[in-house]
Assembly symmetry: C2
Homo-oligomer: 228 residues x 2
Amino acid sequence: MEDKLPAFDSAFSIDCVIFGFEAGVLKILLIERNEEPFKDWHALPGSIIKQEESVDDAAERILYELTGLRDLHMEQFHTFGEVHRHPQGRVITVAYYALLRLTGQKELRPVTQFARKAFWHPINDLPKLAFDHSEIFNRSLNKVRRRLSYQPIAFELLPEKFTLTQLQVCYEAILNKKLDKRNFRKKMLSYGFLKPLPEKQKGVSYRAANLYKFDRRKYNKIFQSELS
Amino acid sequence: MEDKLPAFDSAFSIDCVIFGFEAGVLKILLIERNEEPFKDWHALPGSIIKQEESVDDAAERILYELTGLRDLHMEQFHTFGEVHRHPQGRVITVAYYALLRLTGQKELRPVTQFARKAFWHPINDLPKLAFDHSEIFNRSLNKVRRRLSYQPIAFELLPEKFTLTQLQVCYEAILNKKLDKRNFRKKMLSYGFLKPLPEKQKGVSYRAANLYKFDRRKYNKIFQSELS
DNA sequence: AGATAAGGTGTAAAAATTACACCATTAAAT
DNA sequence: ATTTAATGGTGTAATTTTTACACCTTATCT
């Protein structure tokens, strides 16, 4: 496929691994490419950095153009610089990840023609991805797991009001292992940044669980002072 | 100074933060630049990535060319991508760090003309650095500190045979805080990768301390299995 | 012999982590 | 009305890890 394409010199690009959590399943955002190389393949949202924008700004723009998503807090985690990772020329890519709350049913609507569509896909069943995107994804998942071990970032994935079980399932999905219910709750509550609400889960056909809210002020206090 | 220089389009570069430990003091490797921009300034060893080399390979080559040092294990930690970080044009830089054992008196000898010389400088007294290199250094130090909290990487800095006090001083230099002697020893020995040698320190005018050796096999076992 | 400087050691309290099982509540089904 | 199915919610004891803390020992130098 790549033989017919023009070669180019070198470029910097961005690739984004956006995690979402839905129905107890951890997913990432993929696009269907509408362009060679790897036309029709699934891929991470990614594109070329422009001359006049910072790398961080490029990440925001590119994610928006390919998926319609805006204003996430993305974090850079690695730069992939093998010579032949792109068939047409030298492309070094800076990879970002973000955790995204899926409530509010944000619509996925690419605003450029590079992506035919954008969609969520469970991480346990990923298709073959374009370029070295599988490797990029693997590395992002390691990063998120490691990060979760020192910062309870799972909140970023949950709706504003959530149950402790939802929180635990989210942890388990990220870490890919079962946790003990009592110990998990004890620990989470001991942090002090979970506010119990005078409100219960609705629409379940079993005992409704209490809802909690994440208190970002307290959270920030704890995890800023921890750096010292 | 930059007004007279030709502008260029865009480039990818490498900057290296190489840590060394000497006489109880943590140092990094700086060069004196022999080229505009920032001619005569102190800077991190860094230069432009070539078209036909991977980013990791570029890091090794560049460090060698500017300092004469080879075969260190460098690790990428961040990519700096602000638009105006270089006065002449767009330069995105991938930053690496490494910890280097200073025994054997490795000579520092730049093999290109870009650096007039290379030298070690204590981290507590750094001069103003070229470009955004101070920021790059700060970030590298944070990275090393954080890493030290889950992997005892301080060994990389010590000679083959070392005393427990040397090890502790090295930790203290990285973390910039005092540690308790008894607790520190208890913990280090409990890992099981410190081999006591039937040998004592020489040439000190007080009671000689026992020497230890770092057992990399056991270390790797422990810190590989830890990832699961 | 005495001074100096660092080496080397143990214990108790506190805190964090782990393992583990049963009753309560709700809605749906009968 | 009763039963069933599904999840919610809770406590304790054992173990491990972390912390705080002080004194005698050894080697060298004078």
